[in-house]
Every structure is written in structure tokens, then in C-alpha cells.
Symmetry: C2
Amino acid sequence: MSWLAGQGSGEENDNLGVDWVLQYDFGDLDQAQAILEFRTLVADLHEAGLRVQVRHGHGSSLLVCIRVPRDHLGQMIQKSRIKDWLFGITHSLPTGDENTTADPETPAEQIRSVYHAVTWQKKLGGAGITPNHGKWKNVTASFPLHDQDACSELLRQWNRKTVLTTQDLDTIRALFGEKVAFYYAFINCYSLFLVVPAVLGIFGWLYLGPYSIIYGGALCIWCVVFVEFWKIRESDLGLRWGVKGVDRLKMDRAQYEWEKEVTDPISGQVVHVFPGWKQFLRQLLLIPFASIASVALGGLICATFASEVFISEVYKGPFKGYLEFLPTVLFSLSLPAINSFLTGIATRLTDYENYRTQDLYDLAQTQKTFVMNFITSFLPTILTAYVYVPFGKSIIPLLDILRWTGLNSDTAKIYREFEVDTSRFQQEVIYLSMTAQVLSFGEEIVLPYVKHFLWQKWRNYRDRKAGLSRKRSLSKASDLLLIDPLEEASFLKRVRSEADADEYKVEDDILEMCVQFGYLALFGVAWPLVPLGFLLNNWLELRGDFFKLTLECQRPPPIRTDSIGPCLLGLDLIAWMGTLSTAAIVHLYRGPMSEVRLSYLLLTIFVAEQAYLALRFITSTALQKIFSDALRREEARRYAVRKGFLEASTSPAEKSTSPGGRVRQRVRFHERVNVYPSSDSNHSPDGSPSPTIEEPHDDVLRGSDREAEFWAGPSSDTAEAGVKLIRALTSKAGDDAKWTKEA
Amino acid sequence: MSWLAGQGSGEENDNLGVDWVLQYDFGDLDQAQAILEFRTLVADLHEAGLRVQVRHGHGSSLLVCIRVPRDHLGQMIQKSRIKDWLFGITHSLPTGDENTTADPETPAEQIRSVYHAVTWQKKLGGAGITPNHGKWKNVTASFPLHDQDACSELLRQWNRKTVLTTQDLDTIRALFGEKVAFYYAFINCYSLFLVVPAVLGIFGWLYLGPYSIIYGGALCIWCVVFVEFWKIRESDLGLRWGVKGVDRLKMDRAQYEWEKEVTDPISGQVVHVFPGWKQFLRQLLLIPFASIASVALGGLICATFASEVFISEVYKGPFKGYLEFLPTVLFSLSLPAINSFLTGIATRLTDYENYRTQDLYDLAQTQKTFVMNFITSFLPTILTAYVYVPFGKSIIPLLDILRWTGLNSDTAKIYREFEVDTSRFQQEVIYLSMTAQVLSFGEEIVLPYVKHFLWQKWRNYRDRKAGLSRKRSLSKASDLLLIDPLEEASFLKRVRSEADADEYKVEDDILEMCVQFGYLALFGVAWPLVPLGFLLNNWLELRGDFFKLTLECQRPPPIRTDSIGPCLLGLDLIAWMGTLSTAAIVHLYRGPMSEVRLSYLLLTIFVAEQAYLALRFITSTALQKIFSDALRREEARRYAVRKGFLEASTSPAEKSTSPGGRVRQRVRFHERVNVYPSSDSNHSPDGSPSPTIEEPHDDVLRGSDREAEFWAGPSSDTAEAGVKLIRALTSKAGDDAKWTKEA
């Protein structure tokens, strides 16, 4: 990523032209094996036409810095664009033929091609490096480097504004790709929509109180409108970013097993077919899986809930204050194990379902995670709302274990006098919308930061000790190898830190927002200030997530997608359940619980469901009618392309001037550099001409001397340099071990 | 339609190269006005480049026979194809430029272009003839002529087979266009699907009896699967016939009022915009309309129902046997008036909603018809099932008008002893599935045929009388004008008969099938043999409808569409209501009615609804996965087109050989002639070369001498010939009147 190089401002943050970094960890291997494997790695990368430099990482690992020569990269981008056009993702054919070198429009486009060059199978022209999998299970990290300047600039900009504009989303997309950008578009759209129920909520809190029919109705309508609006917004953005239907052209996964290879008679493409009905049959296994997960998690939650109620309401013995928390603590402790067990089954199921592309695979996996998350997030509150409060009076006495065991004989009286605390449900909702949000923010963003910080401290401490040991070591030559050159030191420090960082999983963030939306839709009517709490939380969440993305996680590969994925279906489901739930809660909690009759309750829910179905139909029709602009524009664009082509083909003389509407605005390199066009002047105050785009064929490096220096070592020597490093590091590790023993 | 000419077999059925016929009725005008208007009509047609011949019709009307010169027609077809391609309906650009003359692939394509030439506004290159509207309200009929040979061949073929194949549907499409073909595809698909519940029904009738849970469940599943399958089948056929998204390129209606004219910045098209939100607001008027219609029709139906029940169950006075039918007779008599009143409101609403294209207008109108039909068809049975039988015991005594008026005092006893006849519901369902179907078939097909036949007889009788009067008339010259030349006599007889025939409304036929599906879904569980009855009826219905289309109605203009229209939504609605209704009926009627409790009934319906929603989701996902072939093929086709274009554009030398995938199979004229390719040899047993396609520019007529003779009169004289006919006819009418007075 040399696209900030030579700007002066970012000496510290210069990526030295490194496009991609692999971390090769040979801690588990013996030296000979490690050297052999490393040589293969470098050979594969060379074979794919990539330039490689190697440096040592933390512990016994190497950092393989990869650079795609600029002409090769340009061709890859061009090929990718032509493919987009062939599959109908974009409508204007890029200028030039397959061998033209194109300039990336955005950093994300560039990095995506690098990603393909590194990860695609060899027959597709990639190096076939699949980290943590199969042959390359010792490649523990594979990531592009962050663009520090752009990120901090963006964070600074965002702190000055409340609402993200579409331009901000475009910038996110330019830096991190569409998948991440869709998340920010979603949280932004959702937060803006939250303003309506937040205002209504304040009004409702002041004048209506909880369980208000008016507020509940408004909330349900709001949910439906939001979900339908988001669907349109999503398809709108998909068209804006030119990713509509992009999952069509994704490559086969390495693990995909097809049944037959079919050459399509019409298009001439070779397609690997796995019958749809077979896959569907396999997908039906989701039903037993969801059932088992529901039973397992549900049972656990019920047990926890029951014992908690038992202890807090019935138990009068010693240590009551501490014992009250015991079930929740036990539950929290066992949840990870159960979750990982279920996730294991889910992964095996998804593997078995045999998806062609990584996208479909991720989608199926996220679906299953969604089911599990749904249960763990909502079931406790659902139990409180629909079981504990309404039926508590008749259920709690059943928990009378003490009397069964004969230990305590005066409990009968307690049960007779037992009164369910009807405000417990509302308290839980208040907790969910305030405390839980703050806690989860801390857990998600602050805690990892602290952990990462402490881990770094400890690392530095260990490295200092290793330095001490090194002084006593004999092998001076290998020691010199392990000392970073001064001009690379800060860069390498950053690379090592990023290699250590977590992968960013945008699905988790989307899921978190869906769960929040679920709380609001399902239980929001119990306390009108819930949306206000969420709104405030989301203001912070948006910035926190961006902080996490840029400073705590590796830069994700800029994957393209045209939707927020299976969560969209989840939103529909939540809006539907929300309507039923709101109706039921209002009916149950509005008056005295004892006067509620089952038939009227059912009638209320039934009517609410019909109202929901009608409302959704009307909303979706209305919104589609009103916001049909983007689709119309898209159609107009297609029309223009065809018209242009028609004109060009019917008057061949003019062909060269307007080749079938294939006019593509060339983006100047310098414009791509800056995240915001307005800050352009800040970066080149001297008015010097910006670096030219056209690169000589032999990939002479632009930018600073430091960058040129970094890549100066002949690429062919990389393997040897790496081998030397492995030797040095393994001997150092030996020394360390020796030193530790001596100490 | 000269495409069967010269085949020997069809001398009788030869259309003499007439593409289109207008009937100009000047009965209400005085002679001078009629002559003036007729001259304008002929001038407009000439201006649009059409050839015209005029003959006299029945009564005081003229038949204007129109022929589009073949080079003009070819250019129109070519332009239409290019437009299809520009709007992305088809993916391969037709060969040649805008001035190439293309040959029609199907008779429907040819007639569609003729239709455009006659009806499009002048600025679009048509003659702007809008029958029964505005300036041309005296043009009482506008239709293409039937292709008698093809129709009778088709009817003969169909009688030999039980199931229509996709080829048969293709033939329908080739003759009558996609809109009609979709109806036949629908009824065929529906009837095939009916086999499953018919078999299940026989099984259920033998072993399970009515109101069986198993049969009801199977029926609901079947309904959902059918609706979801049809959606896929429909989109499949849309792709096969190249009409997917065809409503995009429809022309503005003459009545459309736009707010602003926008030149699209991307495509350069001029678009007439009427804001979507405004239209949506206007559409919301549908809600009060539906409410008023419901109340009006519902009230009437309730009143009828109540008085019928009152007379049959309570009344003991004289003429009981006749009086019993009185309410139904009164209802049937007043229904047309109410319906026409409501249709009037509906039409004004639809006019007000201001749709851009005729398609959208028809769609909106059909929606409203659907609502009205829904009420009149289902409400009586719904009343029986859910009001009369369950609550009859408590409601019927309220009908005690006699006691209120004090006329009869011993009715109280009757009421106390009154028992509701619970089998009444089942009897009604049996009536609906057997008798009502036969009656409606008779009403729809047999009755019009008899009416038409008798009308013809009367016409002939009148014409004979007119002939007698003519003998006594003085004006020999004008009389000669009114005698058909021998070689045209049978042709003109046919044209006159077709001009008199009704317009074919395919929407009504589709609606009829939807209502049938509704009976099955809503009430089918009451009598397991319902689907069998429907299956048998549909076998006949399919053939009867085709008989009606070809022999009783005018040939409809071959309009393109990609769906069966708003009925699709209706099917969804019916499947949903069907599930609820089946659940409720099974719950209510299975055991003794008195033991039913409201809460359990609601619970049953609620559970059924959730099951329906889940089932629909699963079915639609599964079917889309399994039947994704057509979509995949469509994508492959697009890909191939783009690939071809790419190859052509990157290697300009080869451009002429493969111009961007624009290879369009030329269909030989002779192949288009025959409805079935296999019957090709029957038609030209002499092995003579089929007529060539390439026509000289001056439109020399092919086919028989008779055809040439028909068109021999110089086109410029047509106006004069018509004027003479008008004079002759008006004087004849005067004579007639005189003669009638004398007699």
C-alpha cells in the first residue's frame, strides 16, 4: 500500500509498498521441516509472480511481506473488471482488452486483487495460500496492512459529526470493501431510524407509562417500516457500489466437492455442479440442529433461571447474597463450552452442506450462529415475560426441593404467601437496554484493548530479556540478523503488532445490532426509554467498532457482497415476532394479570399477526413505489450502455470514439490517495505534480527511498534470507531455553 | 394474415391478406357527418402508411380492412426487436440496423406490430385509432382476423391429448400472444396439480370421511406448493418466451397525465413522470372502495341469506316452495346492477390513479374486480360455514319478524325446537364443486354460442327481408355496391360475424380459475371429492375456453406480459386464507359443535397460520433451489452475449463474422405457417418450394389470385368507395324504414 507514500505526513505510517503480509509460525516444527516448508511457500509466491521480502516476527515466526508488481496487479484488476462485466455486475465494459493494466479505483479494489493473487488456487493464477488450512496450516495470519493515516483521518472526521453521510460510507467501502461498508450503512441507518421511537419513547415515558397500546403499536409499525426501508436502502447501496448480484462470480471454495463438471452449452463456461435438491436435503439438517441447540441451550437457561428464582425468592439459608449469583455465574462459565460444542456441530453441518463459494458457506454458518445467538439472547427475557411473571405463582411452589428432601418443613408457608414480583420483567428490560449495552461495549472494545496492551507490555519485557540473553550468546551473525534496521524498525513493530491482532469479523457486529433490534422489537414496550438508551449506545458503538476495526484488528480482506447477509431474514423474523410479542405483553401487563383470559389473549395475538402481515405488505409496496429511483437509474444505465453499443455497432466509423458506451472515468492516482477529496490540498501544499499513474513495466518503485530500500534485496534471495532467519530464530529459541534454564 | 394462403386446404378460410379490421358504425350520425368522419379515418390510416379496403358490414356499418405493407411491417418488427434489446428484454441484438426489414418469428409478433401500427399515437408512427374512445367512438370494433385453419387444427390436436405440453403453449403464444398463453399455462399447470388432491380425495372419501385432519393438512400443503411452483413456472415461461420485464417498454396510455417531462441524464430517454408517492396516495382509495364494496355486497348477501334461511326454516305459510327461491332470484337480479355500479366507481378510481401504461391500468382494474369477485363468490359459503351453522341456533330466533308484527303467535315454539342443519355447509360445497361448475360452463360457453347462433339467424332473416325491399328499390347502382362479389362472399360473411363477436377477456377466465382454487382451498376439506370434480370440469373448461376464444370471440390483440397479473397475489392470499379456513372448519365440524371452545379454536387457527408461514418459506426456498435451471440458463445466455461482444470488440477484424453474439436464427416463413412443425408435410404434399420470405419493396402480394384481387383497387380510391357505401347504406336504411312502414 504505497498510496500514502512520499506525502511527508506519514513517514511513521508508511507501509513501504507492502501489499500483503503472511505470518509463518514454525514453532511446532523442527528446523529442517520449517526450512523446507518455507522454501515451498516462497517458491509458490514467486511462481504466482509476486515479490517477497522476509523479516522475523514475534517468537518463532517469520513475516513474509508480499508485493504484487504493479503491471501484474493492473492486469488482475482489469481481468476482474472484465469478469464483472461478463457476469452482468457492471454494465460498462472497461476500456482496453485483457492485457491492459488498469488502475484501481479504490484501495479496496487494489487489495482485493492482491488477496486474489495470494489466495486463489494456482490454476486461477494465484499462489494458493490458504492460511490455517491444509498444507498451509502454519501460515497463522494473512492480512493487508492498515492505512494508518486514512483511518485516523476518518476517525477524526467522524468525531466531528453525528450522522454518517453516503460519502462516509463510500470512504469505508474504499478502504475496507463492501462487506464492512454494509455494516456501517446498516448501523447508521438503524440509528437514524431509532430517533423516531426515542422521541416517541420520551413522550410515552412522560405521559403514557409502560405497556401503552399507542406506544406498542407505534413501535411495531416502526419496526416493519425500518426493515422494509433497509431492504430498499441495501439494494440501493448495492447498485451504487456496483456489487448487485456479485455472489454469482465468486470462485469455488477449495473444499467444494462437485458431482459433475458441466460445460454450459450457452455460455461455454465450465460449471461445477452439485445438485440443488441434494444440498437442500442436507440443509434440512438445520431443523434437527436448531431443535437440539434449542433444547440444550433452552434447558440450561431454564435450569439457571429456575435455580436463580428459587434462591432469590424461596431460599432463606446462609450465604443467600452470594448464592443468588451462583446459577448465573455457572451458566456463564458453561456457556462457552456449550457454544463451542454447538459451533463445532454447526461447522461440520455447514461443511457437509457443501457450498460452492465462501460467501454461501459463511452465510450458512452465520445462519446457524444466528439461531444460537437468538436463543441465548432472548430466551431468558422471554421466560421472565411469559412464564415467570404470569405463571410464577403456580410454578414456584413446584421448586420446593427443600420440602421434598425433608430438610425444611416451614417452606409451605412461604409458598402460600409467595407473590410474584411483576416488575421483574421491566427491570430486566431496563437492565438490557442500559447496563448490558455498556457492559457489552466494554467487553467488546475496551477489554480487548487492555488485553492487547498488556500482552504487548509482556512481549516487550520478554524481548528485552531475550536481548539480554542475546548479549551472552555466541552467534553474532545471526544476532545481527534479528536486529531491525533503524529505518524499518517502527514499520516492523507495527507489522508485528498487526500480525498478532485478531481477525475482524463483521458478521459478529451485524449480529449484535440485530440482537439489539430484537430487544427493542420484542420487549421495548415494557419501558419506553429503551430506544433512547439504544440510540446513545449506538453513537458510541459506531465509533467503538471503527476503533476496533482500525486499531485492534487486522485489516480484513475487502470482500464484496450485496447485502448484510442472513441477518436480513433475521430482521424480518424479529419484526414479526416483535409484533406478536408486543401485543401479548401489552395484553398481559396492562391490567391485573389475574383477569387475563387465554381466549382474548390469543385473539389479540391473532389480530396483531394479521395487522403485521397487512402492514408489511402495504409498507413494502409503498416504499418500493416511492424509492424506486435507484432501480430506475440502474435501468437507465443499462439502456444507455446498450444504446451506445447499438450506435457504435451500426456506425462502425465512429467506433473508436464511443466504443459501446465503454467510457470509464479514469480516476487519478492522487485522488485515490486521500480519503476525503477536500483534504487533498493539505497533503501536497507545495503544489508539486502528483505521482503519475503510468508505471514502467519493470515495476520501479515510487515513493520514498525507504520503500525502494525495503524492496531492494533481490527477490530470489528471499528464500535464503528466510532460511537464515529461521536458523537464527531456532538457535535463539534454543538460547532462550538455555538461558531460561540457566536463570 | 396471408400466411396460410395458397395452401389449397384453406380456400374457405383464407384471410385475403387482411391484417386488421375496423368496424365503423355510423348508425347514429347523419350522412354528411359520417362521410366526413370516415374520410378522416381513411386519411389517418393512409398517413400511417397502411393500405385500406372498405366493404359494407351488417346494418349501417362499414368494415375497414387494413393491410400493413410488408416492408413497413418488417421495419416495425425490427424496431420493436431493437427496442426489446435496448430495454434488456432480450439479450441478443437482432441483425441489421433500424431500417432492416425483419420477418416475424410468430404470427403473434406480426399482428402485434400491426396492432401498434393501427393504435399507437401518430407521433410514434401509428394511425392513432382508439376504438370506442374519444374521436373514434364510432369505431366499434378493432380486431385481427382469426386463423381458422390453425385454430381448428389446434382444437383437433387437443382433443386427442389430455395434457398440454410446453410446445402446445408455445403454439398458443405464437397465435394469440403471451397474455393468452399464460392463461393456458396456468390452467394446465393447475389441472395437473389437481391430480394429487383428486387422488388423495378419493382415498379420503373412502377411508377418512369429511373434515379429516390428514386430508385438510395435505390440502393446505398442496395449496402452498402449487402457488410457489406456479410462481417459478411463470418466471420460467417468461424467460422462455422472452417477455421477462416486458412491462418496462410499454407505451404511455393516451389518457396518462404526467406532471413533468424529464430527460433521463443517463439514458437520454424522455420520461413522463408522475410522482410515485402521489399515485400511492391515490391507490389508498382502494381501501375505502373495498370497504364500501364489502359492505354493499356483504349486506346484500347477508340479507338474502337471512331471508332464505327464514323462509326455508321458519316460514310455514303458503307458496313456501316458490318463496324459498325468491331471495336468491332477487339477489341474482340486483347483482348486475350493483356490480355495474361498483365497476363504475372502480373504473373512475382507476382512471384517477393515473397509470402510465395500459398494462398497469388493466392490472389495477383487475385488482378491484378481484375484490368484488372475491366477496360475491366466497361470502355466501363463508356465512354458511362460520355464521349459520355454528351460531344458527341463537341467530335464527332473531329473525322472528312474524312475532314482532304480531301476525303469528305460535312461532316461539318453532324456534325453541329449531335445530340447525349442520350438513347444509357440506351440501353447499358439493353444489359449488359440481352443479355450479357445470352451470357456469353452460353460462360462459354454451349460452353465448346459442345466443350468437340465434342472433345470426335473425340477422339473416332481416337481411333477406332487406333483400326483398331492395328489389323494389329504385337505386340499382347503390344496390349493386351492397352485393358481395362471389369470390369474397364467404370471407366477408366471416369478417362480419367476427366483427359482431364479443371481445375476449382473458382476465375473466383467469379470475374464474382463481375462484375455483379459492373454493378448493377454503372449503375443500368439507368434501374430499371436490378436487376430482374440479379436475373433470377443468378438462372441459380448457377446451371450452379455447372454443370460445376461437369461435365465439374476436381474436384478441397479442399483448405481451410476463405474468398472470394481480391474480398471482390473489393466489397467495387464497392459500393463506385457505389454511386458516381449513383449520377452522376441521376444528369446528369434526366433533359436536357445542363442545367447541373459542380459545382452542383460536389456538388452532393461530398454529395453522404459523405452520402456513413456515411452510411457505420452506417451499419457496426449496423450489427455488431445485428449479433454478431456467434462471441459470438465462444468466448463461447473458454471459454468452457479453462474451461474444467482448470477443468481437477486442478483435475488430473478425467483427463482421460474429458481431457481438448477434446471431439470430432466421425462421423460414413456411415453418411459421404451420402450427405444428410435424404437420408441415401435410400442407405441401407436392414438395413445391415454400414461398420465399424476401419481398420486393413495393409489396407485391403473394398467395392466391383472390388475395391480389381483393387488394387490387387503388388504395387512394378507398375513401370514395367508402363514401359510396355510406350513401348506399343510408339510402337503404331509409328504404328499409320506408319498407317497414309500408309493410
